[in-house]
């Protein structure tokens, strides 16, 4: 390994090192506050290191990893969302656990896993990243072990994730058997001459899709989502919804672009089916829910469906559309779960939809933040979600995917109903049932609100003036 290799790997090394460092800090019995602040600092360092490696790009670390504009961008999103989750975690865990310090170690490891996914171009690194991510998540989901929902969610995720990993591995093995390589570009080379896929490769690809589909929670592999979202601590849910899915989606996207999987009809049909089913079923199931975390869970299924619509054309436009939509989705989801986190109390998370009643008249700032994130999820103009949806529709229609675009439109109208329902409840009534309790840590409480306000401003700013980010994405190439 050359010096340049190390330099290019700085963000990953920093994340890995941070987890060890935090572990050492815990060993010398520092307080929760110190641990939290230092991990915040380390996340910030890891995030800023991304800017330093810009000039190296694109950089290949053969045969496993690739650092290019897209992967650094995804890493940036992942580390940024971990940073936000980290900020939110303090007030959440401080009042629920005696010393929730190991939480931060796990958070670093999960972030590392997601980042490895984002930069991998080889099955080995893919699997490695996925396992680092998932194993960390088992513990994170079940972190509040006093609550029985948490344990249930943890076990559920453990079983299904292990199950899906097995599928993924078997699929990889079959593809290796067919092509003789595990590196994306080599697989692509062995496919170039083929007009249609061999049954063996197709089976392998199908099994990989099952595995990845579980992680992404697209229909029909979505059964775990609502329970895990509901059971996991709110900040962890935010992490699952953003960083973990973002990393997996990025690697899937890279794989498909590199092997040019879009030219095979069967694969396309499967993808279209998954996308349509996710959009419709995700939105329909959310309509029935009375639990905000579950609503957001089902809405995230639908959003992954939207992302797949942008994914399928496999064009230059789809790279940009996917990247932009991921920004929009990350920011809005983080904001929404941030509000859930802030409003949660010692015993329960603020997940019952009734507990948001009259929030606007009691905490106008929080209600405005939540409303704008929900409106952004619904894709209403003035928010980044609208530009994202516009981008997706543009990418889809450019490739002539009229049917999927139409279904996207129809299902997002269904989606509108439940987002509006939450908003309506926040504006209804006079008295909030959330007690005006004293927050244990007014300082961190305020910091969390400021962080969410900044995110909200970003949501609106990018909704009005997206060209800054769009021009930045001009140079993303995946091949």
């Amino acid at each position: 390994m050359s010096g340049n290799d190390f330099f290019a790997l700085t963000p990953l090394l920093l994340l890995a090192g941070s987890s060890v460092l935090i572990m050492l800090l815990i060993a010398i019995k520092l307080s929760h506050r110190v641990i939290q602040l230092s991990s915040l600092f380390l996340f910030a360092v890891a995030f800023s290191s991304l800017f330093f490696i810009q000039k190296l790009l694109p950089y290949h670390i053969e045969p496993l990893l690739i650092m290019d504009g897209f992967s650094v961008f995804i890493m940036g999103l992942i580390i940024f969302s971990s940073l936000v989750v980290n900020i939110l975690s303090y007030i959440y865990f401080e009042e629920k656990e005696d010393s929730p310090k190991e939480y931060y170690v796990l958070l670093f490891l999960c972030t590392l896993g997601a980042c490895v996914l984002a930069v991998s171009k080889h099955f080995i690194s893919l699997f490695l990243g996925l396992e680092i991510l998932t194993v960390g998540l088992y513990a994170l989901i079940a972190y509040l072990r006093e609550r029985h929902h948490n344990i249930e969610a943890g076990i559920k995720y453990l079983v299904l994730a292990a199950f899906s990993s097995a599928f993924l591995l078997f699929g990889m093995a079959l593809i290796y058997l067919q092509t003789g390589s595990m590196e994306f570009s080599m697989i692509a080379r062995s496919l170039t001459s083929l007009q249609s896929l061999s049954p063996l490769f197709l089976t392998g690809l199908g099994m990989m899709l099952v595995g990845v589909g579980f992680k992404l929670a697209v229909v029909p592999f979505h059964m775990w989502t609502a329970d895990v979202y509901q059971g996991a601590p709110a900040p962890v849910t935010a992490f699952i919804a953003t960083a973990s899915k973002g990393g997996v989606f990025a690697v899937l996207f890279r794989f498909f672009i590199m092997i040019d999987g879009f030219r095979f009809k069967v694969v396309m049909l499967i993808l279209i089916g998954i996308a349509i089913a996710s959009m419709i079923i995700g939105n329909l199931l959310a309509v029935q829910q009375k639990n905000v975390k579950r609503i957001l869970a089902y809405s995230s299924i639908a959003h992954l469906g939207y992302l797949l619509v942008a994914f399928m054309p496999g064009s230059m436009m789809s790279i940009k559309a996917v990247s932009f939509y991921l920004i929009a989705y990350f920011m809005t989801t983080l904001t929404a779960f941030g509000i859930v986190t802030i409003l949660s109390n010692k015993e329960t998370d603020a997940e019952d939809i009734e507990s948001y009643k009259a929030l606007f008249w009691q905490h106008p700032v929080l209600a405005c933040i939540f409303s704008s994130s929900l409106l952004s999820l619904a894709g209403i103009p003035l928010t980044v979600g609208f530009v994202g949806k516009f981008y997706i529709l543009a990418a889809g229609l450019q490739a002539g995917l009229w049917v999927t675009a139409l279904i996207l439109v129809i299902s997002s109208v269904i989606g509108l109903y439940y987002y509006l329902r939450i908003i309506t409840i926040m504006f209804a009534g006079q008295k909030s049932i959330l007690s005006e309790e004293k927050k244990a840590n007014p300082f961190f409480y305020r910091v969390s609100i400021i962080a969410l306000s900044v995110l909200t401003l970003l949501i609106i700013w990018l909704g009005v003036y997206p060209s800054v980010v769009i021009s930045f994405m001009e140079y993303f190439r995946l091949k």
Binding site: F386, A394, V409, V413, L416, F427, A428, S467
Partner: protein
Amino acid sequence: MILVYLIGILMGGGLLALMLGQWNKNLSRWIALCALSTGFIALLFFWIDQYRTINIHLSNPWMIDYRHDWIPLFGISFHLGIDGLSLLLLVLTFFLGILAVLCSWNDVKERVGFYYFNLLWILAGISGVFMAMDLFLFYFFWEMMLIPMYFLIGIWGSENRVYAAYKFFIFTQASGLLMLLAIIGLYFIHGRNTGIYTFNYFELLGTAISPGIAFWLMLGFMIAFVVKLPIVPFHTWLPDAHSEAPTAGSLILAGLLLKTGAYGILRFVLPLFPQAARELAPWAMLFGVIGIIYGAILAYSQTDLKRLVAYTSVSHMGFVILGIFAFNELALQGVVMQLVTHAISTGALFIMAGMLKERLHTRDINHMGGLWTEMPQMGAIAMLFAMASLGLPGLGNFIAEFLILVGAFKANVLLTIIATIGLIFSAIYSLRIVQKVFLGPSERQDPVHDFSFREIMVMAALTLSIVWLGLYPQPVINTVKPMINKLEYIFPIENKNTQKENHQATPLNAHQYRVKKQE
């Protein structure tokens, strides 16, 4: 730049009202009023200024144009421009905006700052819709007015407000998204034809589209506009939204929001897809006539005063669609007149319904009756606007409906005759309002007070304008004439035999009008 300021003053005023409303409720009322008045006066001056030169440059209807790059990578620009039609509707927007502020002055007591914020942002969205010359920007404004309207209905409405707000939002949002699909489709077709990817309205005009696709794209636009307008199968949101909204909300819904639909058809559907529009014309006219009759019949059978007025809107908007798809100058002039006069007359009826609700705490006309003795002023004004609504000569609506019918007669005799029957129905339901509410025996014990000074001012403004439009509509006709001539130019086939009339259309209008008045 004046166009940007117009939107800016509304949005800025809204934010200011929201922030200062925390401390002083009266302050946000005054801020809203000042913002709207400033805009209104500026627009009036602009109109007077333009009016002198308006008929000199008949070939170019555009008065003012402002363009600034917004998202250049997509060919999206912040492009505002107005012609006579936009100007007229903008003046209407600010006029009704002022009245909306005035009529909710004492009505709204809670969360005043947020109320005026929503009100001003709706108006900003509507103004934007009337000005946007970039299809992306147009969609942006089109959607932007929905959220504040949703809040206005959902927070300050009456009992069944949440349901009405949902219904309104989902209907308009769903149809709007279909329009977005059509816009993006048009964008790519134009881009592939010419290599220039842009949402600029002027460049998209005259895009060569194969007829099959053009028809579908046109339907995408059409669905958004006819839901807003509304025409009959898509009207079900309207009675709910109108009757549950607060008074100012109903006023804006009936007076302005419905107009955005008609404006969209005139501005986008006809010029962008002339051929497809021509194919659709017989069906559109048929649905217009169905709307006229159906709306009138349902209006007659309502007992809720606001719902009654809401259904009369359905009926009146049927005339609009009938006139638009007749594709000739007379009918189109009538359509524009109808947009303005309907806004005023129906707005006035909604305001009075709101006043009655405030006094009697009911909207059920079976619980009213005999109010004339106690409220002679309101009775007289209500009589006037009921007459306007049924199309009495001398009031604006008559000119509008007369022109539409004359124009439509050239296009389709049978449908026009059926539509004329609608006028008889409108006489029946209008007189029923007066008879049920103001005449007959009074059952009430406790006294109700007549107009206050503020209410007199509101009604006086409306009365003056409807009478003015009835007696001297020429300013309106002249203002939109260049735009309508341009529009007519796109549909030469229908007008081949009427070419000669076009050149003397204005004197003809005036002449017909004079003849009719003498009757």
